[in-house]
Amino acid sequence: MTIDLLLFFGLAAVAVGAAIAMLLSRNAVYSALFLILNFATVAVFFLLLGAPFIAMAQVTVYAGAIMVLFLFVIMLLGAEQVLGRHKGGWQRPLAILLALALMVETGYLIFWRSDLVSVIQPAASDYATPQAIGESLFRDYLLPFEVTSVLLLVAMVGVIVLTKEERKKAG
C-alpha cells in the first residue's frame, strides 16, 4: 500500500521535474535529454500499470528511435540555442495563465467525477501479456495495424521528398 504510493510519488516527481527542466533549459540538447528521462519514467509507470509490452515499445520507439532522431536533427542543424531578440513579452504571461487554467479545469474535473477515485485492483496474472496484446492486435485490430504500415511508408516517402536536395533552383 504505502510502497505503491511512495513509488508513485517518487516517479511522478521525477516525471514532472524532467518536464519542467525540459521547458526551462536554454539548450535544446538538454531539453531532449530531459525528455528522454521523462519518457523513461513514463515507461516505468506503464510497467507499474501492468503493460509490459507498451513499456518496452515506449523505451525502444519513443526514448530510443524518436529521441535519437530529435538529437540528430538538433546537432545536424547546430540549432542548440535560438539566439536573438526577445519580442512579444505579453505572450509568456498569457501562456502561463492559459496553461494554469487548463490544469485547474482538469483538476476540477477529477474531483467532480467521483467514480475516478476508485483504487486500481490487482490485475489477473494473464492481463496484458505480450501474447494477449499480439492476439488482440492481429485479430480485432488487423486492419488498423496494416493501415499503420501504409502510414509509415507514406511518412518515409514524404520525408525523402521533403529533404531531397533540389536538382536545379527554380526549375
Binding site: 525528455l35 524518436i66 486500481i120 496484446i133
Partner: protein
C-alpha cells in the same frame, strides 16, 4: 494500489506543461518536443484507464499512438530541416511569411 485519479492528475500536469511549452518556447524543435510530451501524457491516461477497467483496448490504442507519433516526428523534423535550409533559423517567430 494507487487510485486512478492520481494518474489523472499526473497526466493533467504533464499535458498542461506540454501545452505551456508549445505556447512559450520559440525554438521549433523544443515546441515539437512539447507536443510529444502531450501525446505521452495522453498515453499514460490511456494505459491507466485500460488497467482500471481491466481492458486491453487502451493499450492497443497507445500502440497506434506511438506508431503515428513516429511518423509524425519524421515528417515534422523533415519540415524543420527544410525550413532551416531556406531561412537559416528555426525560431518560430521568424516563420511569419507564407511565401517561401
Amino acid at each position: 494500489m494507487v487510485p486512478v485519479s492520481y494518474y489523472f492528475a499526473l497526466s493533467a500536469i504533464l499535458f498542461a506543461l506540454g501545452a505551456l511549452g508549445v505556447l512559450v518556447r520559440r525554438n521549433a524543435i523544443v515546441v515539437f518536443m512539447s507536443v510529444e510530451l502531450m501525446l505521452n501524457a495522453a498515453n499514460l491516461l490511456f494505459v491507466a484507464f485500460a488497467r482500471s477497467y481491466a481492458a486491453l483496448n487502451g493499450q492497443i490504442y497507445v500502440f497506434f499512438v506511438i506508431a503515428v507519433a513516429a511518423a509524425e516526428v519524421a515528417i515534422g523534423l523533415a519540415l524543420i530541416v527544410a525550413i532551416f535550409r531556406t531561412k537559416q533559423s528555426i525560431d518560430i517567430d521568424e516563420m511569419s511569411s507564407l511565401k517561401g
